[in-house]
Symmetry: C2
Subunit: 344 residues, 2 copies
Amino acid sequence: MHETPARAREGDPTIEDVAAAAGVSIRTVSRVLNKSPKVNAETRQRIEAAIAALRFRPSARARALAMRRSFLIGLIHNDRNALVLDSIQRGVVALTAPRGYEVIVHPTPLETEAAIRDVLGFVERSRVDGLVILPPVSGVPGLAEALAEAQVPVTALSSVPIAGFADVIVSEERAAGAQVARHLLDLGHRRLGIVNGPADTASAMERRAGFIEEATRAGASVAEAPGDYDFASGVAGAEQLLARAERPTGIFAANDIMAAGVLKVAAVRGIAVPGGLSVVGFDGSLLTRMLSPALTSVLRPFGDMAAAAAERLIARIEGGEAPPPFEVELRVVPAESTGPAPSV
Amino acid sequence: MHETPARAREGDPTIEDVAAAAGVSIRTVSRVLNKSPKVNAETRQRIEAAIAALRFRPSARARALAMRRSFLIGLIHNDRNALVLDSIQRGVVALTAPRGYEVIVHPTPLETEAAIRDVLGFVERSRVDGLVILPPVSGVPGLAEALAEAQVPVTALSSVPIAGFADVIVSEERAAGAQVARHLLDLGHRRLGIVNGPADTASAMERRAGFIEEATRAGASVAEAPGDYDFASGVAGAEQLLARAERPTGIFAANDIMAAGVLKVAAVRGIAVPGGLSVVGFDGSLLTRMLSPALTSVLRPFGDMAAAAAERLIARIEGGEAPPPFEVELRVVPAESTGPAPSV
DNA sequence: ATCATATATGGCATCGGTGTCAATGAAAAT
DNA sequence: ATTTTCATTGACACCGATGCCATATATGAT
């Protein structure tokens, strides 16, 4: 009687079958699989033919055991990433799959302690070779240190360098914030508003700083409202800004979701967009196209950023040359939600 | 000289360390790990203590090799799933993680041949124990047969049973379509419109059939426009419907994204929603809350459906009892985009 | 001709678990 | 007292690959 029910599809050829078919030892087949140069060209051909004939695929598991690597990469994400998860995942897989890695996903909560325990547990369980971590989880205080101690290679996406993470794909959020201000200024806006992201979030503060700096330099005023990247806070922020006596004619929301909230308030109050109010979001998510009017937003190339992160991670895992720093180009993509300032 | 650079974090305790610490053989430790009943209670305690003390985690890879199972589950998705991917992924992981499985994601194209080759290649490479496949990929002709031949356990999400897949989580799309019609009829609408999904998609045709059936039975008229689940086709469909002399007062779009397109056209044409036009979507995606007005939509509990799919998949893999059929309850969630028919 | 050197290949241990079957000892049956 | 039975545990092979080291053959140097 079995202690556990062993069930397996039979018949997958093994390296041994290939060796037999090609009339060599398994060790030589292994060399071919690992592209070792020390194999005679003719032998290699014979082995490759056998591999093709048998439709042999090396067992990633056996290999993992022998090499003490899992060829698995963990992608740590949070529900805040929902709107961009697909493109990020696609970017990571596009880069990892051809190099023989698979991607394990791990949704995680955001609260500091829970997140750290959760991620560490995941790493221990799954024995991934490395992690790609998305913001905002990448910014969880203490996470970098905990992972460093666990000695897991990590590449993080973030807006700012994070102490403790050796490898971070950073985007120039401050410059982007300035670019948004410039966009609105160029359209003639002089009374601006901003719905901020969470105050403890570096990305939000960077965007804010760039925006306010540029606006102030140009002599425009900036009214601020707090927000936390949620739709509801976008609504609340917009209401607060639009209730002012001298209401802003251009509002920058620190992400697309809050911008959607701003558009909603405009609709409810009967303020035409962009006739009476211009709105800019941030992320360039799926959402931008689906809102009416289509949202002007700062495009962040998530797929490319994710691919770059994966590339650097693999370089780190394999000890190869790190590819050159990835230059993330953020730019305002004008759509229908911004237009000339109303001539009051 | 090494042929490949072996890099490994040292120090992870193995089953052997645990056995030594507890003063038993590794085989007995293994029994504890696998919850075999044939272990003395006291011995078990001692071993569990040792496991805890050493913070031992069994190597999934070694286990996989010995048991001829990978404890990996593949999630096949497509960019059409972008808006609901997060909740689905969350649902699958919530169920698989506690049972010792990890989830590998695999984005795939949609074209018949490419998708089949792509998925088969993925299965061979990754040696997953099973697959969860999302629509529309689950409906790719020939895929079910190909996977059956490869003998991979599969559970699919779909709107209708799919020949060839033993296990499909089906939702009652036809009834849901009828429910949408009922919702609009109850609000007094008599001239209805529908923007369909792709004609070769079972889900779309089911939704259509239910909607038209119910509307016709109540003596309401239904104007139709083609669509393909894209935003642009929602726009085109709405334009077509609203250009009619007797334009519909209630429009059902077969998914949320097209419904967003309908809202957009309404906005452009200056038609008040829901004052002059009611709009209903389908999916209950993230989008519904972020549009203005908030979209009335048919909520599909993707997270629960995905969890149910994962549960059945694991049952199939482990040969256990299949859980009872999952009853997907679809229901219209009224929001701001539907209201009483204009009294013209 | 002899020895060093490089190239190509194979043998065997090993990675960290589980499967199979045998061994042990205590309790129950004869 | 002897045999049977059951519960518990261990020994050893094995899963399918790679690491390390040895070996055989060809090539060049002395």
